[in-house]
Subunit: 155 residues, 2 copies
Amino acid sequence: MKVEYINPFVEASQNIIRQTTGLDPVLGSIYTKDIPKKGEHVAVLIGITGSIQGTVIMSFKKPLACKIVSFMLGGMPVPELDEIAKSAIAELCNMILGNTASIFSQKDIGVDITPPTVLTGENMQFSPAKSVTVCVPLEFEDGDTMDIDIIHKVS
Amino acid sequence: MKVEYINPFVEASQNIIRQTTGLDPVLGSIYTKDIPKKGEHVAVLIGITGSIQGTVIMSFKKPLACKIVSFMLGGMPVPELDEIAKSAIAELCNMILGNTASIFSQKDIGVDITPPTVLTGENMQFSPAKSVTVCVPLEFEDGDTMDIDIIHKVS
């Protein structure tokens, strides 16, 4: 995957997280990930079509997801990932990918995104077919990490 | 969701399963499903953009997934859902949605699909945001059911 295809994801995710939560995650080392992937506790999936075809999986451990939602809600305690909290985290990821698509469109690269699906479970394993996964890790204070996996089709 | 938007999924899934496995599943009663959804053991996710925006989740219990793959491979025993078997089930679902998209295109309804992602895990729960889920159940002999959940955005 060309680096100019990765930058919009980085830019959008850092901007949107900063704007909606006030948190300021630092970009870790971007790497290509082996598949199948062991999922974290919470994953938000958004499909991409157009110039990039694939799926973006944003995954968090439950405490980080709760913390992000708490900051989105102005500091309200979020002890559990209930339906409202899941809806908030879905909206955050939707805003990140929507913003990513806008940045691509400014570069005349057309991509379309699906609505988000939040997935929780245990021992989740993703096996994308004929794809390469680029992982963009965002590191929060306290050592929490949100992984943005860009799974894109190999043509 | 209009009924003319559901029929292409039904037609494509029955045709492709018949062609690739020789099995002939019967259409059960189509219904609207509550969300969040408890996933089965194996789920294949494919995103849709264009005139329909959403995600299609095809879910099976593990024995049915193995049986379908076995029939796809001409009767070869498939005791476990290893990477090859997952790849086969992903391809089946990709063909079903590809065929669905072709039928839509013949009706001048433009939809684009993402590549498939196979998901396995326990206690999986899908929480699609602001969506309606229409479930198309395909019933195989022996009482096995494959659910095709069409999760589409409510505008």
